[in-house]
Symmetry: C2
Subunit: 309 residues, 2 copies
């Protein structure tokens, strides 16, 4: 259980790290591309509201993910604070070289568990992605960076359908070799709490309890927050979320995005967990994003208000 | 635990009854009032999709809740099927007389745990509402009807703030005397899973395990579905939900509504529970509601689609 305890009624209150992914997963699929200055303002707002791990940029090829083409400029202008760690998403060795030059603190390498999704998303099958991720992790570690491997489509694939937990565990065992953290991603927002528990069991049965699990949930079908609670129930304490809940999937265009940082923080704090986030400071960021993106954002707390008020 | 078992990873898969509340809680606060014919179409759609308990009407005074003024006409035209039970919301003895004349199968009497909310919502304090509910329950039972007492604002009040579980248990012990079911309502959508467990413990500690608990969640702050999973974890098997997720609270105008029947059914079925609902048959109802109400509805499954497809 990775050092965690479990109470009779659910997870014991603990410190929970919300990895803020709005600058990367949130923005990368938006029709409107934010200016570098607006991205830096977003990152600054997040850090000032207490975010300590921020997935700020992606080093995917600019032709494939044009919204992230200014990753180097964003990193150069992002505020540097003690205790704040910036994460760069990396898909290959060239991306890692850019990440190292740009001065990220952490690297997140992605492997899609579903072969069909991997080919469409990254242009390579899962096996090749595993090989590349291992190379990226080894090189990043040599450079002194913290490393995460994220397994995309771990809860289901829009092309292949169901993904079995044993398949996820099998890919995890090979992809996460040497990484500091393994992130299980519900890329298209189909997962449910029983799957969270099944995946945690299957993966830990293969890679052991020492490797911390991080979780990436989308609220596409209103299951994301229940999944987050279930993940804490398995002993994990690291969850991805996105300010405003922005961040859809390009293969599910009508879908809502990541679980919203505000709503997740409200849920967790009311359950007795500590996120380190300052909700009143964070809330106006949703309106900033809605204004810059030109559409409402899915987060509900900015509309409904905190409680008690 | 009311005959329920609890697995190591959460509730054991079971039959879950979703009480469909869109015709009542869903519609009563909408600016647009549906025609009687449209309400009957809604009820018919729900029954044809498998709904077996439907809160179809309210017998609140027509001056106070004008959207429900045609309760008798809706009941007269609603399709009668074996196994389908229609519930009428009743706030006083006059409402019960109307409900009996209209031929409902069940009565739902409401008591707001918060005195301030009770005065604004029902025009009487909590103590008077408890007395009236007891009278309604006794008379309804004499008439052979199934009875529920719903405790509104059991998770928090927009005027008084926090509501302590002991207060809820105290009101429950007096209000639910003789009722067949006790429903705990998160009227303004502030609750979290730990509160669900605390409330279940507190109430069962006072009224015992024999009285079945039903739960009414709003997804105002994106906690509703996690709360639903937590409620199953306490051994309950009856949850309110509203097709399309319609149904805000008049004291929280920007807020989204009840948990959506479609999204809750998806979540529960994927967890191995059986709801008896036919999701493909139910999904078009969200578009019907959006069309009649003139605005999008909060349910996400109708936009994202089921999985696997």
């Amino acid at each position: 259980m990775a050092g965690q305890q479990r109470g009779r009624g659910g997870p014991v209150p603990s410190d929970v790290t919300i990895v803020e992914v709005s600058p990367r997963d949130g923005l990368q699929n938006e029709a409107v591309h934010l200016s570098t200055a607006d991205k830096v303002e977003l990152v600054t707002r997040l850090v000032e509201a207490g975010a300590r791990r921020v997935e700020a940029v992606s080093f995917a090829h600019p032709r494939v993910v044009p919204a992230m083409a200014d990753a180097e400029a964003v990193m150069a202008a992002a505020p540097r604070r003690d205790g704040v760690s910036y994460i760069g998403l990396v898909l290959n060795r060239r991306g890692l070289d850019r990440a190292l030059d740009a001065g990220v603190d952490e690297v997140n390498a992605v492997v899609a568990v579903s072969d069909a999704f991997s080919r469409r998303n990254q242009g390579t099958g899962t096996e090749e992605a595993v090989r590349v991720a291992a190379e990226v992790v080894a090189a990043a570690r040599s450079a002194g960076l913290r490393t995460t491997v994220t397994l995309a489509t771990a809860f289901g694939c829009p092309f292949e359908g169901e993904v079995h937990p044993d398949r996820v565990a099998d890919v995890a065992a090979r992809a996460a070799e040497g990484a500091d953290e393994l992130c299980l991603g519900d890329t298209i927002g189909v997962g449910v709490p029983t799957q969270v528990r099944d995946l945690a069991d299957a993966v830990r049965g293969r890679v052991g309890d020492a490797l911390p699990l991080r979780w990436h949930f989308h609220n596409t079908r209103n299951t994301g927050y229940a999944n987050a609670v279930a993940a804490l129930g398995t002993g994990s304490t690291v969850l991805d979320a996105s300010a405003g809940g922005i961040g859809g999937c390009p293969f599910a265009p009508a879908a809502t995005g990541n679980v919203a940082t505000e709503d997740l923080a409200y849920l967790l704090e009311r359950m007795g967990h500590r996120t380190g986030l300052d909700l009143p400071a964070l809330l106006p960021t949703a309106a900033f994003l809605a204004d810059r993106l030109g559409h409402p954002v899915p987060a509900l707390l900015p509309r409904a208000g905190t409680f008690p008020g």
